[in-house]
Symmetry: C2
Subunit: 375 residues, 2 copies
């Protein structure tokens, strides 16, 4: 990510007057506060307080068992020891990458994809590339893509598998397909070379940083070793909390509610876009948190973000999602997940206003970089 863009995003996030349509944040109103409090208190009443103590690198056995069971319900055939608890999906991607790619190699990605994966690939000296070509591995989100909210059909999935490459299969948003119609993971068909990656960040809350990795069996030992080297283990307390929530709440029912909630929000954003920005093109997403919209006019992307922020709205510019960081065609990812529903329409109104004055973008000056902008 362009450090100028990160600086702008940090400024926007700190400004209560700006409605944020950037980021992959879930709606905080959907965090299961009560269930988490109950889980916490239960975790802290266990003798010996294991939720506060060290655990093993692979993570809490009962939580791994629950994850394995859920995956098996989708066509996988794994046991608890096949699952490694990670700090969200990001760490699962990072560990997998270290196992299959060397600096200088090429990794295949979608035309638009998850920015933190692209950042990671670049830091590791890999060349992410969209489109045809020779690759050493693929990063894919077949169940539900970020930012487009689309999923791969059977033919596209078969095509991916036919390439016979290691695949990092990121299912971060899979459970938030609006129709709940989840195909088996690619890992169910090719367990020997697919790294299955998931997280509770989008379905429970991201602050707990509980995700998982199911590496192919022959990589498991090395994956565990890498996890141990990286940070010994994931947060014991967070694991215990998620484990209790899964044990005592109906997680599938929760997913049904979440899908309905986010689909409603998506409709709201889509309607506002059609109304206020009719020249922008987008497809209604099949799930997830975001709409990817493209415009015909070319603007300086960072300056347009600064300009929009002054109009009281922020978003994620298109280049963040592209392997070659192209800024054209002009595109934005707009999240309908985090901003309160009634603000969505107002946000789009502001965006439309900023867009209508896009000739002013050239004269916008950018803020000096934040000392914390890392990208």
């Amino acid at each position: 990510v362009d450090p100028r863009i990160e600086t702008l995003q940090r400024k926007a996030a700190a400004d209560a007057g700006v409605i944020g349509l950037g980021g992959g944040l879930p709606a905080d109103a959907q965090f299961p506060r009560k269930a988490l409090v109950a889980a916490f208190l239960e975790a802290l009443s266990s003798a010996g307080l294991p939720a506060l103590q060290y655990g093993w690198p692979e993570g809490l056995a009962s939580l791994r068992e629950k994850i394995a069971r859920r995956l098996n319900g989708r066509g996988m055939n794994v046991g608890p020891d096949d699952v490694i608890i990670t700090n969200g999906a990001q760490q699962a991607i990072a560990l997998s990458l270290e196992l299959v790619c060397r600096p200088g190699q090429r990794i295949g990605v979608d035309a638009e994809t998850y920015p933190a994966a692209l950042d990671l690939f670049r830091s590791r000296g890999l060349r992410p590339h969209a489109g045809p070509g020779a690759f050493e591995a693929l990063y894919s989100t077949p169940a539900l893509a970020n930012p487009r909210g689309t999923s791969l059909d059977g033919a596209a999935r078969a095509q991916l598998l036919a390439r016979r490459l290691p695949i990092l299969e990121d299912e971060a948003y899979a459970e938030l397909r609006f129709d709940g119609a989840l195909a088996p993971p690619l890992a169910a068909t090719a367990p020997q070379r697919v790294f299955l990656i998931g997280t509770f960040s989008k379905t429970l809350c991201p602050g707990l940083r509980v995700g998982w990795l199911v590496p192919p069996p022959r990589y498991r030992r090395r994956a565990l070793r890498l996890k141990h080297d990286s940070d010994l283990q994931s947060n014991s307390l967070a694991q215990a909390i998620v484990d209790h929530v899964l044990a005592h709440d109906d997680f599938d029912e929760r997913l049904v509610r979440l899908r309905r909630f986010y689909r409603r929000r998506a409709s709201r954003l889509a309607a506002a876009l059609k109304r206020h920005l009719p020249s922008w093109r987008f497809r209604f997403p099949e799930g997830g948190f975001t709409i990817w919209a493209e415009a015909d006019d070319v603007v300086d992307e960072a300056r347009f973000l600064a300009h929009a922020t002054r109009h009281g709205v922020s978003f994620d510019p298109g280049s963040m999602f592209r392997a070659d960081a192209r800024t054209t065609p002009t595109a934005v990812r707009l999240s309908f997940a985090a901003a309160p529903g009634p603000e969505l329409e107002e946000a789009v109104r502001r965006l439309a206003r900023a867009w209508s004055r896009r000739r002013e973008v050239r004269s916008v000056t950018l803020p000096s970089p934040s000392p914390l902008a890392a990208m």
Copy 2:
């Protein structure tokens, strides 16, 4: 770590009949349960529930500020933005290492040192080496060494600094020097090349995985980038909890209590060793959780651990702590921190019994490796 040893340690940990003197676990009786519950409930009553939401890679600003203030009280001169919150000290070591070392290089370590650091160095293709030589970087625990519980005097510290190398300064146990007499970190003298590493794992609880890294300023941006690549950010909830505990409790008073508590336990273990294993050599530690003891007789280390486990006690064998993984001289690290006080004497009695029958060690058969033994 030898996978046979890890397998034995896993078996021992799962066996309630075995008193564990292995590992760096704090006493669970010292976890500030009440303060943590209060902090959790407070964190979950903030509007917008930031403790459950995504945060920035560097971590919670108010927590970083408190850490900076504490470090400045010890001669540092840093602000909150110099501090990066990590998943315990281990991740801080891993991030620092990635910034200063390339595979194939040599990193200088103490004759005995922290096993997970050695494991990490080896995984990264580095050659940890104790003693004189040409190195690209040093890993050091000047304030308080693990496993020996010793600290470096002024001359040794000056000597370290005179080598003009990047230093990974691990202060994981620093605040648990029994006399509380903390020298300024090496980083205070050489902030341009010392990576200062600390954690709340030993002083609050390890399950929260909250540590910190203060990299030299010119590495800060890249350190942040690496942190983001690794797992986006550390656990928001755990950071909020620690932040609240630091704000509302007297952490220094807590440290005074902890030092007294662990010194008492150390005395108990030392007395038991003198009584039951008078032939073993050790020095009373200046702090921390462990006593390093050496014996004259040579035994097969892994088999002796298996043998001792059958006598109802486990420990960490000496090779784990040595850069060259030597098993001689026979040595063990014994923790006085985690086992309840009254069990310490019994544990040593069992160890002495196992030691007195060490001729039987040769005939001990080792268990088949755990599927999860990663080392």
